[in-house]
């Protein structure tokens, strides 16, 4: 096989930081090349150099593509050569149709007049190639994330892609959609399209990748050939620079007899569709000192359940009772829920978790400002002390508490969100996808915090789409599917197969 892309000794500096230091990357034509590394290691920066987001001249080193040294001045240059990048945050316009999105900026038109027949016909062809049966005139915002991701790929195909770059394509997809996407990559490979896959999910990488480049702290530390068989532990060791004997902290459950929270017959209806019940008659309990997991596929209603409990932040016609420490509580507003001892750390920390333009110091006490104030006046010394305390305790990597949270990496942002809720000192803490998009090292730190909290007598509810994670940190699991709780099991007796089987069987019943 010939080499399609070679990046030679790429160095990229930002004021005060060397983001990439002499990184070399070599990709063979027709392979799937995985790029792995912790968050902030420089993977995305490298891909931005490649695609021309950082134009020629703003970095040093050479990009050799197809045997020629390239000097891309922008995305349009690299796209003209068939290099297409699909970013983690999807770039579709929700209120335009699928076809319009696919040909956005590349319209099927002559003299500025769009040929809609041709547009829709071509779009239908491309959709078929990515395995979608949607009508080209469907509006994008009516489709789920998995399908939207596939539309991005169809869009890439419309541009005659030769080298497809996918930045964490499955981070927000469920198991089924992820599988579909990976199968598609394998299919592309068979047709000679080269892919670069950035991912944190090692099982996916070992499934599809041919070669792996590991990046750590802005340098390429190793190039591994998967065809020779590489263990996940080896990849992790290269990623973090040390061996993680265990990806999860040791468990020493101190579950108390008392129930921390109990929910009975909880029902929630979709906020817009009156006839769609999203949470159906759910009852559950969690004990003090227990880490409870809620497993389920994307769209099972887990987030909706959590948010409806937390101050009715989701849904309408909510019914059911909730008890905390044996007493029935009123959770009708977020303030009341917090006062009752409940906290909810959201799955989408940027949109719902942090005030990004503000500093760590101002974000940490946000859920309990009274805790750092005398009356209505904020005590800045106390506030700084609190922020410093949590910065140290959760090991938030930052220049100081005065750093704006927008500049922190995903893992550290998540730690700020956790700090906020730890400071509010709840009895029951619901964590929704607490490690989504976070690197291995930071994940371990967050797991440790969760275990420590449970050991101190708090009840923790973890919602996660990553089954190994649930199996690794929880004490007991509920399985949720299509708005119902369809199974309950101690984690010690659970396995990925058993959980999936529970989900599938419950689906058969309905």
């Amino acid at each position: 096989m010939s080499v399609i892309l070679e990046m030679r000794a790429i160095t990229k500096e930002f004021p005060g930081v060397k983001a990439l230091d002499q990184v070399s990357l070599s990709v063979e034509e027709g392979e799937i090349h995985a790029l792995v590394g912790e968050n902030g290691a420089g993977k995305s920066t490298l891909m931005k150099v490649l695609s021309g987001v950082y134009p020629h001249g703003s970095y040093t080193g050479d990009i050799v593509y197809d045997g020629q040294i390239k000097a891309f001045r922008g995305i349009s240059d690299s796209e003209a050569d068939g290099i297409i990048i699909i970013h983690q945050e999807l770039a579709l316009v929700p209120l335009l149709s699928v076809a319009e999105n696919i040909f956005l900026g590349n319209e099927r038109a002559s003299k500025g007049i769009i040929d809609w027949r041709e547009t829709n016909r071509r779009a239908a062809e491309l959709l078929a190639r990515v395995g979608l049966k949607e009508h080209p005139e469907t509006l994008v915002d009516t489709l789920g994330l998995g399908k939207q991701q596939l539309i991005e790929i169809a869009k890439a195909l419309s541009k005659n892609v030769r080298l497809l770059i996918l930045d964490e394509p499955t981070s927000s997809l469920n198991e089924t959609d992820s599988q579909k996407l990976l199968d598609l990559l394998l299919e592309f490979k068979a047709r000679g399209i080269t892919s670069i896959l950035i991912s944190h999910k090692l099982n996916e990488i070992s499934r599809v990748a041919d070669t792996i480049t590991v990046i750590r702290d802005g340098s390429a530390v190793s190039r591994l050939d998967c065809r020779e068989g590489i263990s996940e532990d080896r990849i992790i060791r290269d990623m973090v620079g040390r061996s993680l004997d265990d990806r999860y902290p040791a468990r020493d459950p101190k579950i108390q007899a008392e129930t921390a929270m109990e929910v009975r017959n909880w029902c929630v209806t979709h906020p817009l569709h009156n006839d769609r019940q999203v949470v159906k008659n759910v009852s559950f309990h969690v004990k003090k000192g227990e880490v409870l997991g809620i497993a389920g596929l994307m769209g099972a209603g887990r987030t909706e359940l959590a948010m409806s409990l937390f101050g009715r932040s989701y849904g309408q016609n909510i019914s059911g009772t909730a008890l905390i420490n044996g007493e029935e509580v009123n959770l009708s507003t977020v303030r009341r829920a917090i006062n009752a001892g409940l906290a909810y750390a959201t799955e989408d920390r940027k949109t719902y978790g942090l005030v990004l333009d503000e500093t760590i110091r101002r974000n940490v006490p946000l859920a309990d400002l009274e805790g750092v104030a005398n009356g209505v006046i904020v005590d800045r010394t106390k506030e700084a002390d609190v922020a410093n305390l949590y910065r140290k305790r959760l090991n938030i990597k930052s220049s100081s508490i005065e750093q704006e949270t927008v500049n922190l990496s995903g893992g550290n942002q998540q730690k700020v969100v956790l700090s906020k809720w730890l400071f509010a000192d709840p009895d029951v803490l619901i964590l929704d996808e607490p490690t989504r998009g976070i690197d291995v090292g930071a994940k371990f730190e967050i797991y440790t915090v969760i275990r420590d909290l449970a050991a101190s007598g708090k009840a923790i509810i973890v919602i996660s789409s990553e089954l190994p994670e649930l199996l690794g940190i929880t004490d007991r699991l509920y399985v949720m599917n299509e708005g119902r709780f369809v199974g309950e099991m101690p984690t010690a007796e659970a396995s990925q197969e058993k959980i999936m089987a529970t989900i599938i069987r419950s689906g058969d019943r309905t």
Binding site: P15, T351, V378, I401
Partner: protein
């Protein structure tokens, strides 16, 4: 890089070198430098007229109502909204005051109070739709602007109403009496100026020692000293100049109090913090238990009261209420807030910044008028300054 602080408990922040610090805080210092530069320019260009005691006093009187409204607008904009109706509300309240005092003979004190209440109700009426029904503030206040412009015309029946009684006029044109009985110089005014300047200096020093205790000082000492020294000298000099004319205007005292109170509220109280949080990320703030609807509502109510106060000051200054009063003022007020570094998307901005922004506009108006530049070019130049200030902000943010 130098290391600081003796306290060992928290991780100390490395105090940045002056240049690095200046670079990362360009937004905050930028407008202060701009104001100084603009004042210096006009002081030279007008041959020293700008800072003549009589002109300086005039400058403050002319801009007092803009500054009063800019304080309220800052809160509205920080909360992520906008209020286009303030000019009309101001005109309407002025008209209401005139009708009550001149036509109906209501005692001016009671009338003034009723006007402030009216302002609050107007603000609440608009805030209600914005906060609880999520109607975009641009639309609600655009409607408000038309409604109150219309109501002003109706109230005054298209005529000017005036004059006001002497005591009412004193709101805008009075000066605080010299209790110390100075001859040429209003000693009492000077004393107040010196006291206030000293108080600000003492507070700044106390803040710095407090911050040192928690290890969160970033500002190099040279900057701290230069900035606060400059503010102290500027305040003392300004009060000396005004004392040399007729003393501190009543409006100036009102304004200074408002600036002090609102600076404190925005930076030091839980309610202030929460307004910044809802402007920065409303969803995150709501999920942190912050009642964003109530705060938005209150922010608009507050804006209404301050617009009413500005209306009273303006009517007292002109000594008459005219149907045209306040027209277009909302634009000056909004411009002042944005020049002062607030962000269109909310969550960013300071009261002091907005006040400096208002002064930049005021000094330019005043300076250009003295130079005899026509209203045509004045408008153009002001527009370009607004654009430049915001471009500067955006570029700076990108770099950081």
């Amino acid at each position: 890089m130098t290391q600081t602080t003796t306290n060992t408990q928290p991780t100390p922040v490395a105090v940045k070198s002056p240049i690095a610090f200046l670079r990362s805080h360009m937004r905050e210092y930028g407008i202060l430098f701009a104001l100084i530069a603009i004042m210096a320019f006009f002081q030279v260009a007008t041959g020293g007229i700008l800072l003549k005691p009589v002109n300086l006093t005039n400058l403050i009187l002319q801009n007092s109502y803009i500054i009063i409204m800019a304080i309220g607008m800052l809160l509205v904009i920080v909360a992520g909204h906008i209020d286009l109706s303030v000019g009309s509300v101001m005109g309407f309240v002025g008209a209401l005051a005139a009708v009550m005092i001149v036509n109906w003979g209501v005692p001016y004190f009671i009338a003034g109070l009723l006007c402030l209440v009216a302002g609050a109700i107007i603000g609440m009426a608009q805030g209600f739709w914005v906060a609880y029904f999520r109607i975009p503030s641009f639309i609600v206040t655009l409607a408000g602007m038309l409604v109150f412009k219309g109501l002003t015309l109706w109230l005054l029946a298209g005529q000017s109403v005036g004059p006001f009684p002497k005591q009412f006029q004193l709101i805008a044109s009075g000066f605080i009496p010299d209790l110390l009985g100075g001859a040429d110089l209003n000693l009492f005014s000077l004393l107040i100026g010196v006291l206030v300047a000293t108080l600000i200096l003492v507070l700044a020093i106390r803040n710095r020692t407090e911050a040192a205790k928690s290890g969160s000082i970033e500002e190099p000492f040279s900057f701290f000293a230069a900035k606060n020294g400059l503010i102290f000298i500027a305040l003392v000099y300004m009060s000396y100049l005004m004392a040399d004319f007729r003393g501190l205007p009543n409006v100036f005292i009102v304004m200074a109090l408002l600036i002090a109170v609102y600076s404190f509220v925005t930076s030091r109280t839980t309610i202030g913090r929460r307004i910044y949080a809802i402007g920065g990320n409303e969803k995150a703030a709501m999920l942190s238990g912050i009642n964003s609807q109530k705060l938005t509502f209150l922010t608009f109510a507050n804006m209404g009261v301050l617009a009413a106060l500005a209306g009273l000051v303006f009517a007292a200054r002109l000594n008459t209420a005219t149907p045209k009063a306040g027209a277009g003022f909302e634009l000056d007020v909004i411009a002042a807030v944005f020049i002062g570094g607030a962000s269109m998307s909310g969550g960013v901005g300071t009261v002091v910044g907005a006040v400096i922004g208002a002064f930049i506009m005021g000094v330019m108006n005043n300076g250009m008028s003295i130079l005899g530049i026509g209203i045509d070019w004045q408008q153009c130049i002001k527009g370009l300054v607004l654009l430049a200030a915001v471009i500067f902000d955006v570029m700076n943010k990108k770099k950081g």
